[in-house]
């Protein structure tokens, strides 16, 4: 049976080779089996093996020597996974006021973001260059072409109906059956989240969130709720045992999670874990707010299912948008709330009243013509390649012992530097050189992840990016040298 998470064959080949290198069977400098040999041995197409090797080369694990074959790169060990937020994690609440305690430190980051001369290397949004914008422009034109002028059509209820139908069809392919009239459109990912917050959060409530948190979690300050951080692992996602203990100790009202390619770690929960999460919360009557913005950007063969697909008790509210899979300027998001659709609608109505019909009708056209699928395939390939290039660059330029996460989707990777490197200092020194990188401490409410940074791989790989990674590496190395 095909699992949603089963990797493509070339990935399986690559994993096998990586494992051999890690365990020392294939030491640095040794030749790996020829394409022909391995293809015969494994019974797969030569092109598949070639793709696997090419990917490993991209990641800096193999190198090809002309007319000789592929060799394990002498200097590069395979990337090892960074650690998550496990260990001595306290079961502790954070009051609403404290939610913004580290906010002030990072407010200037957004002005840095608006400055075009800064290169933003932690970007959680794919670069515009990937998008075949001609095609989307065609959809846009169709939305305000006369006759019809769909752009200005009455659109006050749940949102542009043809788009909701397209989305319902899209979700069907992701293993989630949702009728179009249970999809409420919003004006973007942040509004989707805000609508869910506004609907569920009451002052004094306890909300469980994954740690490291995402920046929009800080919006919770407006709702007067207390936050409980749940540690999570860069590969498996939320620590469910910890959550179970937390559920016993506290009366938790809702839980925020991003099971598919969670920013900033890129972690992916397995179907079993998603199921366990949903069931565990349903038993306690805790609503799960699931953000699925990166779900469509997956490298595996099939799209990972949202946790909402396991939701039998109508206890999961799924929020998503096109800003992470297409472009931020689309400003179209949605909320799937099952039986609470009307409440979600009412809440959105209070937030922003109408939504952006112009973009909604353009996106409906974009999906209808199959362009969204095509775009996703391209984006997936592109992100995977960029991740390889990024990994290679980090392993090359960063101090020894740096660990780079290898997410199976999304556009962000979590990087653990040697313990003595101060991520915040790195961030400040890099900004002086016009490189904007998010340090680990910006993702948590308590001093933690000091030696972590997040790096995005959604943009097209350029020399400028390569150079920026090199600079970051040098700055980190300089810190290490000083301490000795």
């Amino acid at each position: 049976m095909e699992n949603a998470l089963s990797p493509r064959i070339y990935q399986q080949v690559a994993d096998r080779i990586t494992e051999q290198i890690r365990s020392g069977v294939l030491p640095p400098g040794s030749r790996v089996p020829s394409l022909r040999l391995l293809s015969r041995q494994m019974g797969v197409n030569m092109a598949t093996i070639n793709r696997a090797y090419w990917m490993l080369e991209n990641r800096g694990i193999l190198e090809s020597r002309p007319s000789s074959g592929f060799y394990v790169r002498p200097e590069a060990a395979a990337p090892s996974a960074p650690s998550g937020s496990k260990g001595d994690f306290p079961l502790q609440l954070t009051s609403p006021k404290k939610l913004t305690s580290n906010l002030e430190t990072f407010k200037y980051m957004f002005s840095a973001l608006a400055n075009p001369s800064n290169l933003f290397v932690s970007m959680g949004i794919p670069g515009l260059a990937v998008l075949k914008s001609q095609s989307l422009q065609k959809s846009l034109r169709s939305s305000y072409a006369r006759p019809g002028l769909k752009a200005l059509d009455y659109n006050w209820f749940l949102g542009y109906e043809p788009l909701r139908r397209q989305l319902a069809r899209h979700y069907l392919d992701c293993g989630l059956e949702v009728p179009p009239n249970q999809i409420v459109m919003t004006s973007g990912a942040v509004e989707s989240l805000n609508v869910a917050y506004r609907l569920l959060m009451r002052p004094g409530d306890i909300v469980a969130v994954e740690s490291p948190i995402i920046l929009s979690t800080m919006c919770l300050q407006h709702y007067g709720v207390r936050v409980l951080e749940i540690p999570s692992d860069p590969e498996q996602g939320m620590d469910l045992d910890f959550l179970e203990r937390a559920l016993k100790k506290f009366k938790i009202r809702s839980c925020l999670a991003m099971p598919n390619f969670r920013n900033p770690m890129g972690s992916l929960m397995s179907d079993e874990r998603k199921k366990r999460l949903v069931e565990m919360l349903a038993r306690k009557g805790v609503t799960l707010i699931e953000s699925d913005v990166y779900g469509d950007v997956h490298f595996g063969k099939t799209r990972p299912r949202p946790a909402k697909a396991f939701d039998k008790a109508d206890n999961v509210i799924l929020v998503s948008s096109f800003s992470k899979s297409v472009a931020p300027g689309v400003k179209v998001g949605w909320v799937l709330a099952g039986g609470r659709t009307m409440d979600v609608f009412a809440t959105r109505w209070v937030n922003t009243n109408g939504t952006n019909t112009l973009m909604e009708s353009a996106m409906a056209d974009f999906m209808e013509r199959g362009e969204y699928r095509r775009h996703l395939r391209k984006l997936q390939r592109h992100c995977e390649e960029s991740l390889g290039r990024l990994t290679q660059a980090v392993l090359k330029h960063f101090p020894e012992g740096t660990k780079v996460g290898q997410p199976k989707g999304g556009v962000v990777s979590w990087v653990e530097l040697p313990e003595k490197v101060d991520g915040l200092r790195l961030h400040k020194e890099a900004l002086a050189q016009n490189i904007l990188v998010f340090p680990g401490p910006s993702f948590c409410l308590r001093p933690r992840f000091r030696n972590f940074i997040s790096l995005g791989f959604g943009s097209r790989w350029t020399d400028r990016l390569e150079k920026a990674i090199e600079t970051l590496g040098q700055l980190a190395k300089k810190q290490l040298a000083e301490k000795h």
Binding site: L149, S187, P328, N356
Partner: protein, 479 residues
């Protein structure tokens, strides 16, 4: 010697007879001065005098640039609001987040037949020039069309807006604005920037449901301040309420309020702003209908009287261009930094295409041209509504006389059960808003709110007529 009536009196008598006999019906145009004078072989001035006499008696109405019309029958008066003296200072209350109310709202929205419950202009009335501006913006932006504008939004559009307001008697700079996805977001951010759960806000009553629901969602308490149809918000009561309760903010629509349609005279706007400034209470001003005025000049927003930055002006293009174009703005005065902060974190940038398109639309003067058409259409619609109500609704029905906006407030006789009426009309696919949902303190259960945003045609007339007939049917039953 018996003095014969003056010539103009005779002419007036002639017209009056025609009206009494029903030959000239309510809302119909009377013969033009020139034609009538030729017909009767009297001087045009005599006819004008006759028409003035009739206008003074309330039988005729003059419409500038159009001529004289037979006045619409029935006293067009505001709903009875109890005299000020006997009104106690309203207690603050929390409006329950009423699922029933929301259910009704949802019902209007879900229905395909949006005629009377629709507060947005008909998409058909959007000029082709806007489509052109969109296309131009798309070409100008190129691939950046999918990028984003960081808060406070496209400078070009903010400059155009400042210019637009300058023509309304309000001096603003582009730096005073930030752009939002609509007026509702502008108000939402304004509220978030300084109000906390448990605070109290004084709101005009009847009050726009969206704003009330917003306050309620945030756990904010409300003091209802009644409005008078000629002066808008009752400032005397507001003053008392400010003294009695710890009011943290005030909400009003000084120009063509939704739903009551009433406006504040400039002196009252000024007094309101001064009263609030003195107490350092911010005014959240919803000016979304300000551009749809029927008079000669655009009424000033209350913001025009704001010297110290206590007024937070919120508005959008959704009522003038269409609701699918979600661009709004706020001028939050001294709360600017806080509001921008709320746009910056979480990072909610805005879409470049629409902002650019509107910048083009305003720069080309096409918006102003479009507004002229909208105003004319709405004024015509209102007249048709008034006529139809006068003809087909129960006799004691009264309506407000809005001088702009899109909302008509109608008061029906006591014996008509409005909720039942709404249910009955809903079954026929007709949506009207029951007045009862607009306030908890005051009783508007005899009121109906109608929007006159859609272009008038037979279908609209028929729909409106059906509402009137259903109301009449209720009256007959009771006897």
């Amino acid at each position: 010697m018996k003095t014969s009536p003056k010539l103009y009196e005779q002419v007036a008598e002639k017209i009056k007879t025609q009206i009494d006999r029903g030959i000239l019906g309510p809302g119909q145009k009377v013969p033009s001065v020139r034609r009538f004078s030729r017909q009767l072989a009297v001087s045009p001035f005599t006819v004008v005098q006759a028409y003035w006499v009739l206008e003074n008696k309330g039988l005729l109405q003059s419409r500038p640039g159009s001529g004289f019309y037979v006045a619409i029958q029935g006293p067009l008066e505001p709903p009875e609001i109890q005299p000020k003296a006997s009104l106690p200072v309203p207690p603050f209350q929390r409006m329950p987040f009423d699922k029933k109310v929301m259910g009704e709202v949802v019902h209007y929205f879900s229905d395909k037949n949006l005629l009377l419950g629709c507060p947005f202009p008909d998409p058909r009335s959007v000029p082709a020039s806007f489509g052109k501006c969109l296309d131009r913006a798309r070409r100008q932006l190129g691939p950046a069309v999918l990028g984003f504008n960081a808060p406070p939004g496209l400078k070009e559009l903010r400059v155009q807006l400042a210019r637009h307001y300058f023509h309304s008697g309000l001096d603003l700079r582009a730096e005073d604005f930030f752009l939002t996805t609509g007026a509702m977001e502008a108000m939402h951010l304004s509220v978030l920037s300084f109000l906390n759960p448990g605070d109290t806000v004084a709101v005009e009553s009847p009050c726009f449901i969206g704003f009330r629901t917003l306050l309620d969602c945030m756990g904010i308490k409300v003091v209802d301040i009644p409005t008078d149809h000629r002066y808008g918000m009752d400032l005397g009561l507001l003053k008392k309420a400010l003294g009695r309760h710890k009011v943290k903010a005030c909400y009003a629509m000084p120009n063509f309020s939704n739903p009551s349609g009433c406006s504040m005279p400039d002196e009252n706007k000024k007094a309101l702003v001064e009263m609030l400034t003195e107490r350092e209470v911010p005014l959240i001003e919803n000016d979304i209908y300000g551009d749809i005025y029927f008079g000669k000049a655009r009424p000033k927003p209350a913001k025009a009287f704001d010297k110290e930055g206590w007024v937070m002006l919120c508005s959008s293009f959704s009522k003038t261009v269409g609701m699918g174009v979600s661009v709004g703005w706020a001028v939050p005065g001294r709360r600017f930094t806080e509001c921008i902060g709320l746009k910056v974190l979480p990072f909610t940038p805005s879409a470049p295409l629409l902002e650019k398109a509107f910048a083009n639309f305003l720069a080309l003067g096409a918006y102003e041209r479009h507004l002229r058409q909208v105003r004319k259409m709405c004024e015509d619609n209102l007249r048709h509504y008034q006529e139809t109500i006068a003809t087909f609704f129960p006799q004691e029905t009264r309506t407000a006389r809005p001088q702009g906006g899109l909302s008509l407030w109608v008061e029906l006789p006591r014996k008509v059960n409005i909720l039942r009426l709404c249910q009955e009309t809903a079954k026929l696919g007709i949506n009207v808003n029951a007045g009862g949902v607009f306030s908890v303190t005051f009783d508007y259960s005899q009121c109906l709110q109608l929007y006159f945003a859609v272009p008038w045609d037979e279908k609209v007339q028929k729909t409106l007529k059906t509402v009137g007939e259903l109301a009449k049917k209720q009256l007959v039953e009771k006897h």
